[in-house]
Amino acid sequence: MIKTVDLTKVFRTEEVETTALNQVSFEIKEGEFVAIMGPSGCGKSTLLNIMGLLDNPSGGAYYFLDQEVSNYSEKQRANLRKRNIGFVFQNFNLIDELSVFENVELPLIYLGYSAAERKQRVEEVLEQMQIMHRRNHFPLQLSGGQQQRVAVSRAVVAKPHIILADEPTGNLDSTHGDEVMNLLETLNKNGTTIIMVTHSQRDASYSQRIIRLFDGQIVTEDKTTEFVLTAAAQ
């Protein structure tokens, strides 16, 4: 489903050149739940942005659904992105001026769904996420957990193949964090591929595989169970 070969990303300013990703190669299969871990500044978010088709790599190849997309234009990327990827962010990234319903509806609008279809889909997802009673509220009127549930609803409403989650529990307490992780787990069980960037070992334990980055390179790729056992042994 996703494959990178020697993926490189270099940020240049007038005087400084920073290599955020250095020849990163890996593959993620359909239906997997993968966590990406590593210290701050190791390139996790850069990798997620490239995987999410928000940014192009500086070098290497990126295969998304078997297409080499590393040289796609913004328009091509946007087109591919809106049909296949859902995003969940640490800070929820809801539009404050739109209600819960309208926030969740947004991807469907850009996909050209009719109003009736949108209503049906959004209500279905809000029911599923148990946030239907808040449909007319605005983000600032909700708790963090509720906001993230809305964000997850928005990520899944267009039935994407992949969900990219960037520290989805970073702004939540453990109870709400678990709720969100359970939601993602359920989605994964129903067939959605999930790629999650996290600092939290607890969250990473929900995944089947961990890619660990350091200074823009993959240092290990391990099975979660082994990692948990190792952690427990320490």
């Binding site: 978010s45 850069t46 942005n49 999410g52 928000l54 940014d55 913004e74 328009k75 946007a78 087109n79 992105r81 809106k82 049909r83 995003f87 962010f89 800070n91 990234n93 809801l94 539009i95 404050d96 001026e97 739109l98 309208e102 509806e105 947004l106 991807p107 609008i109 850009y110 996909l111 928005r154 267009a158 960037d166």
Partner: protein, 804 residues
Amino acid sequence: MFKQYMLSAWRNMKRAILYSVISVFCLAVGISGAIVITMYLNHELSYDTHHEHHARIYRMEGIYDMAGTSYHLAITPFPLAMAMQNEFPQVKNYARFFVEEEERMVRADDREFLEKGFVLADSTAFDVFTHHFVHGHPKGALSEPNTMVISRSLSEKYFGEQDPVGQSIDVSNRHYIVTAVVEDLPENSHFRYQAMLSMASASHERVYSMNPELFWNINANYTYIKLHPDQKMDAVMENMPAFLEKYVNPLGEQFGASAQYLATPLRDTHFHPVMMAPETGNKSTLLILGLIAFFLLIIAAINYTNLATARAAKRAREIGIRKVSGANRRQLVVQFLSESLLVAFLSLFVSVFLVELLLPYFNSIAGKSFSLSQLFDHGIMFQVLAITLVTGLAAGAYPSFVLSRMNTSLIMKGLPVQQKGSALLRKGLVVFQFAISIILVAATLTVQNQLRFLQNKPLGFNNENRAVVSVYGNVAREGIETLEQTILQNPLVSGTTKTFSIPGSDHNVMAVRAGVEGEMRESAISVNYIDHRFIDRMGIKLKEGRLFDPEMRTDFNSAILVNEAAVRFFGWHDEPIGKQIHMNFDQEGNPRDVMRVIGVVEDYHFLSLSNPIEHHMLILRDTPTSFRYLIVEYQDGKKDEVLPFLEKVTREFDPSRLPQVHMLDMGFSETFDAEKRLGSIFGLFALVTIIISLMGLFGLSSFMLEQRRKEIGIRKVLGSSSLSVLRLLYKEFSWLILVAVVVAAPFSWWLLDRWLQGFLFRIDMSLNPILVSTLVAYVLAIATVSYHSLRSAAMNPVDSIRAE
């Protein structure tokens, strides 16, 4: 999707209410100005188009050369129209209008009125021009002597609601029968009249129309020619030389003069300011107003652009989310353009109310009578909608470009997305706004200085405490000395004098031969006929020679006074006294009068200040019918007592007319109406521009300071005082104003210098207006940014650092 855009736009506006109000209000002010100016431009450009056949109608004008001086007049000889119809097959019809007297004494329904706009007109006027008849018929309406057609408002004024056809009205003591009532001429008619008296009513010798061979030398009436359909005026003008040869040249040779005729299309007459034409429009004023409207819109649009791009950082997250949710760039551009259009159309809505408030003031300074309902005329409405649409799109273009271009991955990382380019552009736009404000303020000041200069310019005679009594008609003039004696009995009156022309009004120009270098050379000179007290009473100074002496009979028929300009003109520097001027020639060209210069008076402005002081001569008269005016000097501060007295005695003197008494300085103060209006319009729009610019600056300063919160916090933590922070902030805004001055000063100088060149008598261009306007702009700008700057400088640094 559009609904979603609108919803999101509306909620965004509500969230940033201060900035939304500023944007909407500024655009509303800009659009209001543009609406008013659009109405004005439409009005000015639509003159005379209400006449069904306007494209086939022309006004004939004459260019007359007399002794080397050329006069371009809107009036022509009476026989011209008839001769043209006889000679040129292209001419279908003609209509002549003759303004015999500017003001007419009218008696209707036992009441008296002093009316303007009473003209003699040919019965063909209704064939040439389109009139809408309320009562009566066009056919035969002006065929008979002593018949008249009046306008609806005149009819209502005299007779109320009743049909006045068949009623009698006395005009200048003659009976006329009303044969028809027509709708008032629209305001956009270059020549407006309220009543048409049949040309057949005029005495034969007055109208000279019976014999086309005669009287080609007297220009008196307006001539309008209507062509047959599909005929071209060019074809007529091609044959004009032969026409002139047949009718005009023989007579011209006799007088040492020549004439040629021009045809001005009816639509263009309003912008054709030739001598004796009805008041015309001014294309430069239209251009200036058009530019002002354009700049007002740009300045208002700049506010929107500036505030919208300044807020880009605030909206970055929304843009990122929309992009992540699948929006492409085009969709975002459409969204932001929809927002600016929403703001523009909200502004249009607000501007309708502003226009309602603004119109009375604009009408008073522009001398028009526009009403809000005209806004809903299809043509104007369409233009206003188009202006709003274009303004909305222009204002939103840059923000939508900037916002939609934002890098999603940077936004999502929470990195700053503010572009350096847009900050520079914002500053550039502020500079532009202030440059325009400085130019407009400098223009207002310069126009005012020039007007003040003209109003205070020494005229070469004394026009204070002097009233003018007009005496109409030879019968009344016969008794002018009796009137003078009556007036002199009033102890408040210190003296009187009689004259044919008064300073500031038209003067006759006469063909003469003047003794130059030993021979009599043909020339033309303006002339006034005066009594012997005129020079003293008017305070005109004698330069050399002597004044008229009523005891010397020869002074009445062979002496003249000339001005210094005449001495220069004829080259009499060595010895002007005794030089000859021959005038009033007979058929053989021999002079009936041989005059000698007895004295030279200092130059004084006998014409309005729009004219140079030309060569001029004064002739002594003692026949009462030579005088049209009595100038009355009264004691200082007694105007309010003397004017009613003068009106009373004039009325007793000539009961057939309403008395005409006015101040001598009126002739000069009325001359610069157009410039005064221009000054007022500049003033008004300068104010509006400054308000818009300041509001924009207020909003922008708030954002600029918000962005620098952290910097200010850190500076204060490191020991900077509030005062030094304030100085830092002021310095930045001061730079913007300084750059604006550098941009505005040369342009203002060039523009205003050009404007001043249009005056014969003008102030010297100085830096003062530009310096003053700069100071005004600077003080106001600093006061505006102070609100936010003081708050920023005074804030607790801990708050700003924690907020980061």
